[in-house]
Point group: C2
Chain length 200, copies 2
């Protein structure tokens, strides 16, 4: 069977997870919306919904990392990059009528206490995001422990704002979260400037 | 039928929502875990799972407001109150093996694009939280538009940190979110001190 079918199954599942979560998404709906024979879903994912779910979580995690990397590449400094990332999230919310938000958050909350395999998949993705953002802030001159705190705070602001923006159907929470993240990073950069540490 | 049964149904449903979300929670499981006759669930909630869900969302929202109010009453200043609120969230995560987090977040993400009645219930609760926190920060002297931004940022940090703490099974994200919220509020209070505005 062509791997285009497998890709279609993965993309469709990711979209269904974003809109309705893991529990609410059935294998029959996945096959139907991916225009794939029901048997082909199990052909590509013999472990069923759990195996497919884990692959979608990891794939979505990588895709999000690439999105962040693209924003960084386009931005001339770290504050613009952080602002651009939140602005992009707000645009996506508006363009998709508040449906397509983080592909992992809903699933992460659903599985945290109910499915250890999938919880570990979400944990791996989140650790990669945190490590990537920590690396980026450290590269901008922020000491590593502080850079990790900033990464965690920025990502918490982002995920929390997705919840509020989707429930309230307004981008206000995302815009405010973006400003708060920019302020936090600006504060850390000022600390570095005023006390560049032993290496300076 | 005694209203103790109704209360047991509501409490059980709230706990099941926190652990496994709305979609994954069935009326039969609710009746069984609440030790209530199946028929009594429909007696108290003729509208079925949706009506029960809406009442649980609104009740949990009020309970959370009372928790925040209790922390405020115990705290001698606004920074201690914000710190205490996040510290309490971290303790709850640890004590419940990372299961009992926000009773509304999982449901809010599940229903945002799939059930308008329940989305509106989550939106009402979130607006009450935002209004309550805005009022509290305004009372501490922070101008109202800035107070609302702080409220939104603090609540986004809290909800995002629940996602990361539950997925990673560590309170680190909640502790970091708490520090970031305290820093943000402290920054706003410094702004007020340095420029008390026309009323001073």
């Amino acid at each position: 069977m062509p791997s285009a079918t497998k890709d279609r199954i993965l993309d469709t599942t990711a979209e269904l997870f974003r809109r309705q979560g893991y529990t609410g998404t059935g294998m029959k709906q996945i096959a139907a919306e991916a225009s794939a024979p029901f048997g082909s879903v199990y052909h590509f994912f013999p472990g069923g919904k759990e195996e497919l779910g884990a692959e979608v979580i990891r794939g979505s995690g990588r895709m999000y990392m690439q999105l962040f990397a693209a924003v960084i590449t386009e931005s001339d400094d770290v504050l613009n990059a952080v602002h651009g990332f939140f602005a992009g999230a707000g645009e996506t919310l508006r363009e998709t009528d508040y449906a397509d938000a983080c592909p992992i958050a809903t699933v992460a909350l659903e599985v945290a206490s109910t499915n250890e395999t999938l919880r570990l998949a979400t944990a791996d993705v989140f650790e990669e995001w945190i490590a990537g953002a920590t690396q980026y802030f450290a590269y901008a001159g922020i000491p590593r422990p502080r850079a990790r705190e900033l990464a965690l705070a920025m990502l918490s602001l982002l995920e929390g704002a997705f919840i509020f923006s989707r429930a309230l159907r307004t981008t206000e929470p995302m815009a405010v979260a973006g400003s708060a993240a920019v302020e936090a990073v600006a504060g850390a950069l000022r600390e570095v400037e005023s006390d560049p540490g032993p290496a300076a």
